[in-house]
């Protein structure tokens, strides 16, 4: 994956997922308006934590791998039984530990396995956006996405879009050497985070055990 071209898989994404979420679009537009920002560092590789629901986004990531779709290797996944298990502090801990961006990926609205977990997650993500604003950080560093387990292309598209967004925002101002945001987020979750399945311990989709 590391040597792969990180281009968005445009055609399949368009077919499987008609449009990115309205929120993502709006946030992107806001970020674009505030552009008197420092220029994008071409060497900046963000660390992005993804809280993925076991029933949809995590399976979608597997599917993206099976489909051999390319997406940035910047994302590190943590599997949850449902995004409804995600609490404000889990997102905040990841940011505090220096994650440049954090997003939750849950089921399509109305299709949560636990009925409303993804709706709770969206509210919590939105609350963390207000906390980041209060802290003088960009609220676009956290986001909520929805997808089904059949949307491998959407998973890759979201990963690409979010990574590009964070590259434009630049590094998290509280990033510190020697602090691993993925480990910190996992530790904050404690027993809530589900163990990764063999062969998919991170978001590396193509090379690991998905032979045709």
């Amino acid at each position: 994956m590391a040597d792969a071209d990180v281009k968005a898989p445009e055609a399949p994404a368009a077919a499987a997922a008609p449009a990115p979420t309205a929120e993502a679009g709006a946030a992107g537009a806001e970020a674009a308006e505030e552009t008197p920002r420092k220029p994008v560092d071409p060497d900046f590789e963000p660390e992005i934590i993804v809280f993925a629901c076991h029933y949809c986004a995590y399976a979608a990531a597997d599917l993206a791998g099976s489909m051999r779709l390319q997406y940035p290797s910047n994302i590190r996944m943590i599997k949850l039984p449902c995004t409804g298990k995600l609490e404000v502090i889990h997102l905040l801990r990841a940011i505090e530990a220096g994650a440049d961006g954090v997003y939750a990926a849950g089921c399509l609205e109305g299709e949560c396995h636990y009925l409303k977990g993804n709706l709770w997650a969206r509210k919590r993500v939105n609350y963390v956006k207000t906390l980041l604003e209060e802290l003088g950080m960009e609220p676009e560093r956290v986001e909520m996405y929805n997808m089904s387990s059949a949307m491998g292309a959407k998973f890759a598209e979201v990963a690409t879009e979010f990574t590009n967004r964070i590259k434009e925002l630049g590094p998290n101002p509280v990033k510190r050497e020697g602090v691993n945001p993925h480990a910190a987020a996992r530790a904050a979750l404690g027993g809530v985070a589900m163990p990764d399945e063999a062969g998919s311990s991170t978001a590396v989709p193509v090379e690991e055990g998905h032979a045709e």
Partner: protein, 227 residues
């Protein structure tokens, strides 16, 4: 229960000042139930304070804890070690808990992270409505179980006033939401109870000296004091 709202972060940071060791102390009773100052919220505030300090390049140590109830000496004993180790305690308890903390550990600096706002009832999850003003002389036995002191915008003892229309008060909330006219509610319920005549009770001016206007109040139960 007692409800409170969190203060803005900048205000809390200003209260913390230059102190290096900060303890954010939640309270796991009323303010935890109203989702403002329990252990979870203390952890969130502590994280925010650390992130802000890191951004500003200030070397600050921020820990969090929570007492089961900050308004009782015994529960404060349980977090004494952490309090003693801190330069400043940011208390997320109601005003009672904050003052108990400040008194117990005086002269430790204890600052509030919340604005205590009312004695409220959770009308639905995450919505609280004021129901009691702790006025010291309850009248709701005559007013169908509806408090005119806090639910009437003017605290009228003999309502309604001319500002009552279609069951609403002439006053609205700061968010421009309608407020129910307490005296219209009282009339409706008295009617349902067949006790309309209670509407005609003429209440003399209320004795506010039993409320906070009479100075700090004290309650003693002699029969319950330890021997």
């Amino acid at each position: 229960m007692i409800t409170a709202d969190r203060k803005p972060l900048d205000e809390i940071i200003a209260l913390v000042g230059d102190n290096k060791k900060v303890l954010v102390a939640g309270c796991d009773t009323c303010v935890a139930i109203c989702l403002t100052g329990g252990e979870k919220e203390a952890e969130i505030l502590a994280s925010e304070l650390r992130i802000k300090a890191e951004q500003d390049g200030r070397a600050v140590e921020v820990e969090h804890t929570a007492a089961i109830r900050q308004c009782e000496w015994e529960y404060l004993d349980m977090i004494a070690d952490k309090v003693e180790a801190a330069d400043v305690v940011v208390s997320m308890a109601c005003g009672i808990g904050i003052q108990s903390m400040a008194e117990k550990f005086a002269p430790k600096i204890v600052v509030p992270a919340v604005n205590t706002n009312m004695l409220g009832m959770p009308q639905e999850h995450a919505v609280w409505l004021e129901r009691c003003g702790a006025c010291g002389e309850c009248v709701i036995g005559e007013t169908a179980g509806i408090c005119p002191v806090v639910r009437c915008s003017k605290s009228l003892m003999n309502g309604p006033c001319g500002g009552s229309h279609d069951g609403h008060c002439e006053v609205t909330t700061p968010e421009k939401e309608e407020i129910d006219c307490a005296w219209a509610l009282i009339w409706d319920r008295l009617k349902a109870q067949g006790r309309e005549e209670m509407m005609y009770i003429n209440r003399p001016p209320k004795n506010w000296s039993k409320s906070s206007s009479g100075g700090p109040r004290k309650m003693v139960r002699e029969e319950a004091k330890p021997v």
